[in-house]
Each structure stands twice: as structure tokens, then as C-alpha cells.
Symmetry: C2
Subunit: 395 residues, 2 copies
Amino acid sequence: MPLIIPVDSDFSIHNLPFGVFSLGEGEKRIGIAVGEHIFDLTHAVEKGWFSNISKETVQTGSLNALIGQGKEITGNIRKTIQSAVKNGTDLSAYLLLQSDVRMHLPVKVGDYTDFYSSEEHAKNVGKLYRDPENALMPNWKHLPVAYHGRSSSIIVSGTSVKRPSGQIKTTEMERPVFGPTRALDFELETGFIIGKNNSMGSPVSTSEASEYIFGMVLLNDWSARDIQKWEYVPLGPFLGKNFATSISPWVVTYEALQPFNVAGPIQQPKVLPYLEFEGDKNIDINLQVNINGTTVSRSNFKYMYWNMEQQVAHHTINGCPLRIGDLMGSGTISGKDENALGSLLEMTHGGKKHVELDDGSQRKFLEDGDEVVISGFCEKEGIRVGFGEVRGQII
Amino acid sequence: MPLIIPVDSDFSIHNLPFGVFSLGEGEKRIGIAVGEHIFDLTHAVEKGWFSNISKETVQTGSLNALIGQGKEITGNIRKTIQSAVKNGTDLSAYLLLQSDVRMHLPVKVGDYTDFYSSEEHAKNVGKLYRDPENALMPNWKHLPVAYHGRSSSIIVSGTSVKRPSGQIKTTEMERPVFGPTRALDFELETGFIIGKNNSMGSPVSTSEASEYIFGMVLLNDWSARDIQKWEYVPLGPFLGKNFATSISPWVVTYEALQPFNVAGPIQQPKVLPYLEFEGDKNIDINLQVNINGTTVSRSNFKYMYWNMEQQVAHHTINGCPLRIGDLMGSGTISGKDENALGSLLEMTHGGKKHVELDDGSQRKFLEDGDEVVISGFCEKEGIRVGFGEVRGQII
């Protein structure tokens, strides 16, 4: 079987992202996406490929142990497959069609942190939830604000999301009421997976941070805005967020994304020394959100104010230990343009306006049955490196 | 060897808490505290005791798999040991001295949630950080406010805590500065360990909650007040907390604490139906904080406004899945009395006053070398069930 990779595939030989799949209810195996196929890495290691990787490493049902082998090992896997495809090696014994398998969460997530690193999103939400005149909090331009999310409710693309219930109190109500959320929203985010442990008490600098970033996924941070608004003072979002967080199944490596680095926004006021960095650290990733097939947003990861290296340095500056498999969300990614907003909250100005779908229906927030699909890709000089999608339907 | 349990021991035969220990750097084993001894459960199972428990269950280095067997199994272990001690059975082949072993984290914590359920603490902090006239937020009496903490920095009693650095900005400063925290504090808390998984999307009611609460520990939620104050708006505490959270090594079972149940405060306004509960659900646990040997606080878990059953019901009302081993902190436990405050922040009115130690020295916040010890026990009609202590020194 000659391996043909469609020219518009997210999974070109420049990409080769890692994931976890199974055939139906079978055992979970590690795979590498190649075009419309999966290279079955677990099978290859079992057959004697990559003598420096033990069979146990690829038989745990998650990427954590493999990632823990280090970037030299995972980088060598990508190079070997790249060469094999380029040289026309017959890989048919190790290839499956992506359409034939079931994808799983790629990693066992220890801790999940969600940042808040898009200036436009922070301003838009600040205007709606707090003071329109002082939308950004005084700390926002000095540090990448973040909070801890819940790892137990992280789900893989394709998993349905049950509309959560909770306490709701609008300004008109005298007391809170209990019921299903009336303001269910998505949040367009990316996430990165930690690839190396730091010791407790040992900060990681911005220049070391790349060693700790294994790769990226797309992330939908589902949010119940009415539950969130009532509960979040003074300790932050809790039940308004922790009912579900969806991620895409393929982890695109940090290295595969380097060709798409671009300069980020100028950070003014000047950041403290531990947040200074060198080089272009933003990444030009085209992002798109569809609701029931209608594109409602086109944003880009390059808009982020704070980059991933700064997020790692900030997260560890107090000695906090990061562990392999931890997930770091970017925060909602909004651009300046009206068509580049990362949540319905922003698009509808908190439910005051409608978003029109192609079937003529309107949305303030998500309705039961709605399916949200976030997709993303980089493209430059004919080279495409993409993420596939993260998909979820409200039930 | 006849087993003599000192009358004032926290670990009476009414208690029999579960923990994880090792002999030096040896393998981690599961033990039950009995007076000054440990009953080596792993050894007992390996020797054929408890035929309904597999050896693998007690050889994983944490309690999670054993807890997962259910309360009937873990309750039967306690009953069996209780009978053996009462009957004078020779247990010497299975007993070690606690002073001879090293204790470890009892569970592998998936997610760590910290509540904020003491009315006095919430009021005291609200006065200092926000508006003295409206110290309690409007939501506080309607729901048990909580946020997600970090599980990777949970450490067992005895582990030293490195003073964290971070961004600090007092009101007088024009811009933030970077440096070691000048306001390092403890927080007197308890925590409970989840003993049963709920399915994603399936809330747990207050009446079912006891099945999900395996047992309790003491918890010190170390806090860097200056870092916290600058970073925490709008998404809650992050680096001001996630550098370290200490817990005591012995998990006292929910069942061992039932004789000490007492009525909690009357909840007014009336809570929503999903937070209603029956019976006395607060627990009379005497709590004490020592700094370098000086007792600086005597508080009690019975002061809590929200009980654990309500916390479980609230946490899952949106369908959030809890997993065996998850840790739920109570929030700082303060009483009305000036001598019953659970943090230096409250005792010193935010650093405006001093706390006097027995050696004549004074503290606004913790200094390097200071050792904080939290201890706790229940006592009623001559029966004592205690927690031991959670200890940590600042380095």
C-alpha cells in the first residue's frame, strides 16, 4: 500500500502528531497521524522498531510514559517515520485508517491550568462582567493571569456534553434559583501538554521552557455563563466550567510548530525580568469555530499577549512543580475583529445580540443538539501542519 | 508482644486510620495506626489475611485501590483489627513502631478542591481584602464557595516548605516588584478524601454523600498573602497557594468520626433543595495550631457553616465527576473567638498586629526556620479519635 497524503491534510509529514487510539473496545495504543492514516507505534515497538523504547512505554494507554522518555526519543520517532514515508518504505503492516479507529484522551492529565492570556478576550469579558471603563484588571499586563481547572472532566473530541444545572441569579432576581444553565457557551482555546517534570521549588526560565512543552492541542472550555457569574466571586470559576473541557486527540509537537513562529504584541509596560524572553514566540495558527456547520469565528493563536514560554516561567516562579501530562489552556483566543471572537458571550455582548446560523436560526447561547467544532492549522510556503478538530455536541 | 495503647493516644481502637509508610527507602506499604504502632496491612494480606483483598490492591504505594474496594471491605479491615486487639491476638508479626517508619502521602490525589466554608474566616478575609461593610459576598450563604487547587504540590507532613518568590505589589507601589514573599502564612484546614467515583453528569445528593467520603486528614494550606493579593483578581488564588499544601499522613475514616457529630449553625437564608440535609453533619474536632511550640490558635471543625455532605452535593450538582483519592479542603477554620483564628492574616489583621511566641519573639507572618504544627482530635465519653499532626518547616 503506497501511502498517499492529501495535499490539504492537517497531518502532513511535517506534522506527525501523537495520539492514543483503539480498534473499537480494544486496548489503547499509541499512534502517529499520517495523512488519513495512523502509524501504529505500539505495534511497531512490539515488532522491534525503536530498540531504545521498551514495550511497556507504549502499552500504558496514554502518552505520558513515552513523553517522559524525552524529546530526543519522540523527535527520533517522528524523523524515522518521516524518512520511511519519504523513502517509500512499505509501512502497510503498521497503518490503519483514522476513520476505522476510536480516539482517546492522549494523556493522563495530572493538573489542568487555564490561562487568560488574550488581551481582547480579557477586555471583552471585563466590560461585560465588571467595569467597562476599567475592563483590564491592574495585574493583567504584569503577569499571565491563570487559575486551576478540573482534570477529571477533561474529555476527548467527540464526547457529548450534558447541559449542566446549577444556581443562577440574574441581577433582577432577589434570590438564586436552581435549574439548567440558560447561557451555555464554548470557549475557543488551545492547550499545551507538559513534557518534563520540574522539581518542587525549582522555577523554569523562559529560555528553558521549550524543553517542558511537549506539544499542543485544540481546547474547548465549555462554560455556563449564568452559573459562573453568580459563583465566581471571590475565588474564581468553579461549577461554571468544571462540568466538561474538550480537547482534540492529536498532540502536535512543539517542534512541528516552530516554522510558524511569529512576533507577538509588544508588551508594554515592560515585564519583570523573569518574564523576559528572546525570539519570536507567538505561533501563527489559524483557528475556526463552527456551530452546526456555520463558521461563527475565525481567530488566530498569534493574537495572544502572553506566550507559552512566559506561561511556564510564571507558573513555576514560585516553585510549583509541573508534571508530564499536565494541560495548560491558553484562555479564550479573541482577535480585535468582530469575526474573530472566541466565545458567544463576546459575540452576543452577553446575550444582548444574536448570532445567525446558515439555517436561518439564531443563537444567543448554545441549544440542546448544537454541535461545536473547533479546527486549527498552520500554513506557510506550501507546508501545512494542522490539529484536526475538537468536536462536541450538547445533549 | 502485648499491644498496649496509651489512653491519650489519637490512634485508639475506635480510630484505626489508614496510611502509607515505608521502612526508610523501602517499598511503600499500607498500614493502620494502632496506638504507637502500625499494623502492616500489606504484609497481612500477603500472608493470607482478608482473602477478599488481592495482594496487588495493597502493593500500589497508595490507598486508592484499597479505598476503591468499597466501605464494606475497608470497614471489615477495621473491625477485624479491632477484634484482634480486644481479644489479645498476637499481632507482633505485623506490628511496627510508628517512630521507625517514614510516612508518605496516603493517596494519589487526582484533583484538589479547596472550599471556603467557615463564615468567620470568609468575613475576616473579606474585611481585609475587600469591603469591611460587605465582608461576605452575596453568594456566600447560598452555596459553598470553592476553587480548584493544585494537586502536584500536595506534600505529606514533615516535608519542608521553601519560601516562594513572586510578584508583589502593595498599594503604595506604583509597579509590582519581584522577590520572596514577605507575608508567608499557614491556613488551618481539614480535608476529606473521596472514596467512590460518580459518573460524569450524575450529581450526588446530600443523603448519598457519605458513601463518597472515605475519611479526613488535617491540612495546612500554605499561603503567600502578598502574591495572592496582587494576582487573585478576577480568577482566584494561583501562585499564592500552589507552591505547597501539607496534609497529615493518617486518613481517619468517616465512620470513626460519626460518634462526634454535632449540629451545625442554622443556615439562614434557607438553602436550595439540593443543599438540604438531614441529621447532625458537623463534627466536633478540636484543632490546634502551634508555631515553634507556642499554641497560637484553638479552633474547632464544628464551627463550619457548610458541611461535607453539602460540599459533595454542590461539587457534583453540575455533573462534575469526583474520583477516588480526590482531596477536598474545608477552607480555613476560624471561630468567633480571637483565640480561634485559622491564619496569621486574621490574627494580625493583615500584618497590623503581632502574635507573641513563648520565646518572646513576635510574628506578623512566618519567618525562615519557623515550624507550624496543626493537630486535631475528637473526644467524648472517654473515647478519643485523633488525627496526629501535620507539620512543616519554612526553609
